[in-house]
């Protein structure tokens, strides 16, 4: 299932599901446990990461730096900022 992003959260984190290769680096480096792994597969056969708790994000961009597959964006502001 997809998790909802809101407009009153300080940062918006987005995972591009089809590019995610399930490496788990974002889960490893996130200090606020924003991510969880999905229980379904993407078109390449990986279980992508999902942004479960977007409101917890502090905008440190560790996940952005760690993602080797250009699959995460972190932007300041609510969901409309993406």
């Amino acid at each position: 299932m997809a998790y909802e992003q809101k407009n009153n959260q300080p940062y918006t984190v987005r995972v591009y599901e089809q590019g995610c290769k399930e490496c788990g680096y974002c889960i490893e480096v996130c200090p606020r446990n924003v991510f969880v792994q999905a229980n379904y597969f993407n078109d390449k056969g990986y279980r992508p990461v999902q942004v479960k708790f977007p409101e917890k994000c502090i905008g440190c961009r560790r996940c952005f730096f760690a993602c080797p597959d250009f699959s995460i964006d972190v932007k300041q502001g609510g969901k409309d900022s993406l």
Partner: protein, 278 residues
């Protein structure tokens, strides 16, 4: 794909065919971040690639002009190309450790000797990983690989008092830095300085090959295990760490300007032409 890939990379190349957790994408992203920070556009840079995983995964991904040279030849091609390009156009090369520090080392040294304006990003995965994980020139001492089942016995370029960057410095390189792919802004800053440098610059970036190197050396293909291994050995503050460790940051920055190759050659041919006309 994220905003960086969308801005600079060809859509059909992303996601890449690299293994899950391969650190090459982290290297690639840092180079793009540096380019973006410097305000450069696709047309400002010509991108060259070598062979192996580093060459293959970055090959022809750049939206602007690309060129490739296999088995260590890309530095020689870049030297020729430098004469054809406008001086303000940048050249960035993404190559592997085998390409730069082994099979292509002589070509690399000659590009350094001539001070050819280019930025070489050596994405180092500790050996020949695209062919199944044979040891190379930076494989950590004692590491079990496909071709060193009893542990890496061959002296490498980065331990026991040897440092390949030292050789490049002696040969005349003006800007040298070392980082690992698990680093952030500090690595991007070094890459920015390298790109800005007029003359030969090189940034050596160690990244995890999850499938072949760590699969054998650590006995685990779990990306997070490789990530933690490299993180524990990434050493920007020069702490006392047991075993192999990577001191990161700027390694050398020259204070005196040495004339760049294409400038020197253009000036020289102009002088010769004048002499012949008079």
């Amino acid at each position: 794909m994220d905003y960086l890939a969308e801005k600079f990379l060809k859509a059909r190349k992303i996601p890449s065919t690299a293994c899950s957790g391969c650190g090459l994408g982290q290297v690639h992203k840092k180079v793009l971040l540096a380019i973006d920070d410097l305000g450069l556009e696709s047309a400002d840079i010509v991108w060259g690639t070598g062979i192996g995983c580093a060459g293959r995964q970055t090959f022809n991904t750049w939206k602007g002009d690309n060129f490739a040279g296999t088995h260590g030849r890309v530095y020689a091609l870049a030297t020729g190309l430098r004469l054809a390009l406008k001086p303000e156009q940048k050249m960035i090369l993404t190559v592997g450790d085998g390409d730069a520090f082994g099979i292509g080392l002589l070509h690399l040294l000659h590009a350094v000797r001539r001070n050819v304006d280019m930025t070489v990003i050596v994405a180092d995965n500790f050996g020949y990983q695209s062919t199944g994980g044979q040891y190379g020139y930076t494989t950590p001492s004692g590491a079990v690989t496909d071709s060193s089942p009893y542990g890496m016995h061959d002296p490498n370029w980065v331990q026991d008092g040897r440092d390949i960057l030292d050789i490049l410095k002696s040969a005349g390189a003006g800007f040298l830095a070392r980082h690992t792919s698990v680093e952030g802004h500090n690595a991007v800053e070094s890459i920015k300085q390298a790109i800005r440098y007029k003359g030969f610059s090189l940034v050596h970036i160690i990244y995890p090959c999850v499938t072949n190197f760590f699969g054998k050396a650590l006995g685990s293909r779990k990306p997070v295990d490789a990530y933690r291994w490299l993180k524990a050995r990434t050493n920007p503050k020069q702490q006392d760490i047991q075993g192999i460790t990577f001191t990161t940051g700027i390694y050398y920055q020259s204070t005196s300007e040495r004339q760049e190759f294409s400038e020197q050659l253009r000036g020289f041919t102009e002088r010769v032409q004048k002499r012949c006309q008079s």
